[in-house]
């Protein structure tokens, strides 16, 4: 197993205008990207569960050409509204860093 933060070249989150946030998970090379994709760990249901929203509110795109995954979802609180904790939504990717990806299995292939 390897943590996502040790496989990706960049995991980040950011506002996509005041009512949405978007998460980018990027890899240096196609092989790592493919292996993470094929591990099946990153799914709509996982993101819905982590961010406590309905699966219908998760836009999940595997961007093969960019060796990256893109996840967009409504912000938990609209940007800057009372109770917002992250004006740029810049730290909301953090729980993803610790995700365990089954890495040993693909080392053998």
């Amino acid at each position: 197993m390897a943590k996502l933060k040790h496989l990706a070249t960049l995991v980040r989150s950011k506002n996509a205008k005041p009512f949405l946030m978007t998460i980018d998970i990027m890899f240096r090379d196609e092989a790592t990207y493919r292996r993470v994709k094929e591990s099946g760990v990153l799914t709509v249901d996982l993101f819905a569960q982590l961010y406590r929203t309905r699966p219908e509110n998760i836009l999940f795109i595997a961007y093969d050409q960019g060796y990256s995954f893109k996840v967009t979802l409504p912000r938990p609180v609209p940007q800057g509204d009372v109770g917002d904790r992250d004006m740029h939504a810049g730290q909301q990717h953090s729980p993803l860093l610790e995700l365990e990806i089954p890495v040993d299995a693909w080392r053998l292939t």
Partner: protein, 466 residues
């Protein structure tokens, strides 16, 4: 020879700064124009609601504008600045106009200036709402409160509304001979798409190049400090290259920039249509440049302008403090719940019927525990060795917010906790005053587009000789 337009973006946002050396190198490529974004909604609703420019510093803005203005005038090329003053409303653009006029006086510059307004008249928008011409902006079909139909009441409550202009008002200003354009709220890309579109270049490469340019050197491989980016746009392609020899663009760094702050890596919605990069190809040119082909632009059936609006929620007061006592940290949640109960009882007793629980909101953030993620924090059950506490009260006026925040703060400060007897002081404050008045609080309320009569309708323009 095939037509080519060279565009130079000095920095990602006016005020962020850039290297003068890089800028000079960019100028040596003989750009046809200089463009720079000056605003966003990214720093929150305060600037839009208040009319102030707090998100970027005015002294730094003046420095950047001076360098750009001097270079553009020396070379006789247009300077296009969009989303002036951060929120791009009338007070924001006026602030930029004063700075630019001062620089012109100091440097003895003369030019034709276009000021394009983006602030919207509420009554006219109410008319558009009645005509069914304001619609939710939700191409992805999300559900929730933020994605519903607009009500007249919400529109009425807005402190200020701006429309995000497309490239057409810029093109109109250029047609009228503007040499410097100060525009209100704009889509980031419109600033850079206007001149190449006016020159008749194909919209696919133009809008894609504009998206890459809008954050300047953000599209380089290893983003460090804000710096310049240059794009050469041809008939069916564009080439992107950072002027600084220390930076490089790679196919991956350029295509990745489509991801930034954008819900989709393939589609970018503009007032006049949608940029589609799903068939784009990125090829390295030399070591530091990237050539992009295959970008498409799909014209929209209806022209739409995105609206941004902020309403005033109330006034905020806060206190900031730390907790280090391990006995207290071991029972933090229960202690905070008890503190809140005690506080609410004290508010009832202090104000009686004059203040009801609906008149104020309290938010507590415990940094070191779940300050950033709140209820989404997956790490639970650990006892931190130290916690930072920010107590926040939002109420209808500043005096009431200060007063209630005092009650909240004082309750926390001395509330007894299990394990010790006698008077305790539970909060370590770094600052006096202990209760900090923060000022008005706004929130974004519009997530909608309006269908105007034509692309210029919502954006009146002044042309003046400076």
């Amino acid at each position: 020879m095939a037509k080519e337009i060279v565009a130079l973006a000095p920095t990602e946002i006016v005020g962020a700064g850039f290297s003068l050396e890089s800028f000079e190198r960019g100028l040596q490529a003989n750009p046809d124009f200089i463009g720079c974004d000056a605003g966003s909604s990214d720093a929150g609703p305060f600037d839009l609601g208040s009319g102030e420019t707090t998100s970027h510093d005015l002294r730094s803005i003046r420095r950047d504008l001076r360098v750009m203005l001097l270079a553009a005038r020396a070379r006789g090329i247009p300077l296009l600045i969009g989303s002036c003053g951060y929120a791009g409303g009338d007070p924001h653009i006026e602030r930029y106009r004063r700075i630019v006029e001062e620089i012109a006086r100091e440097e003895n510059l003369h030019f034709r200036l276009a000021v394009i307004h983006a602030e919207q008249d509420k009554r006219s928008l109410l008319g558009k709402l009645r005509e069914g011409r304001i619609k939710p902006l939700n191409p992805w079909g999300f559900t929730g409160e933020s994605f519903g139909e607009l009500s007249a009441a919400t529109l009425e409550r807005c402190e200020r509304i701006v429309g995000c202009m497309g490239s057409e008002p810029y093109i109109e200003a250029l047609d009228r001979g503007a040499e410097v354009i100060l525009a209100g709220r704009s889509t980031d890309t419109s600033i850079f798409a206007a001149l190449p579109l006016r020159e008749g270049l194909s919209p696919g490469p133009v809008w894609h190049a504009a998206k890459i340019l809008e954050c300047a050197a953000a599209a380089v491989e290893k983003h460090g400090q804000p710096d310049c980016l240059m794009v050469r746009i041809g008939e069916e392609h564009f080439v992107v290259e950072p002027p600084s020899p220390a930076l490089r663009c790679t196919p991956l760094s350029v295509l990745s920039h489509m991801l930034y702050e954008n819900p989709s890596p393939f589609h970018l919605y503009e007032p006049s249509g949608m940029l589609d990069t799903s068939a784009a190809r990125y090829v390295a040119v030399g070591d530091r440049a990237v050539k992009v082909t295959g970008s498409r632009f799909v014209p929209a059936e209806r022209y739409t302008v995105k609206l941004e609006g902020a309403e005033k929620v109330g006034f905020r007061a806060i206190f900031i403090g730390g907790i280090r006592d391990s006995l207290l940290l071991g029972q933090l949640e229960e202690w905070m719940e008890e503190a809140l109960r005690t506080f609410r009882a004290k508010v009832r007793s202090a104000y009686g019927d004059a203040v009801s629980p609906e008149d104020y909101q309290v938010v507590l953030r415990t940094y070191g525990k779940d300050g950033v993620m709140g209820p989404l924090e997956p790490v639970t059950g650990l006892v931190p060795h130290e916690v930072g506490l920010i107590g926040e009260v939002v109420a209808r006026d500043q005096e009431l917010a200060n007063s209630i925040c005092y009650q909240l703060r004082y309750t926390f400060q001395h509330l007894h906790y299990g394990g010790f007897e006698g008077l305790v002081t539970a909060i370590a404050y770094p600052f006096a005053p202990l209760t900090i008045p923060v000022g008005p609080v706004y929130r974004f309320v519009l997530n909608h587009v309006v269908e105007p009569e034509d692309p210029l309708e919502l954006f009146p323009m002044e042309i003046v000789e400076v």
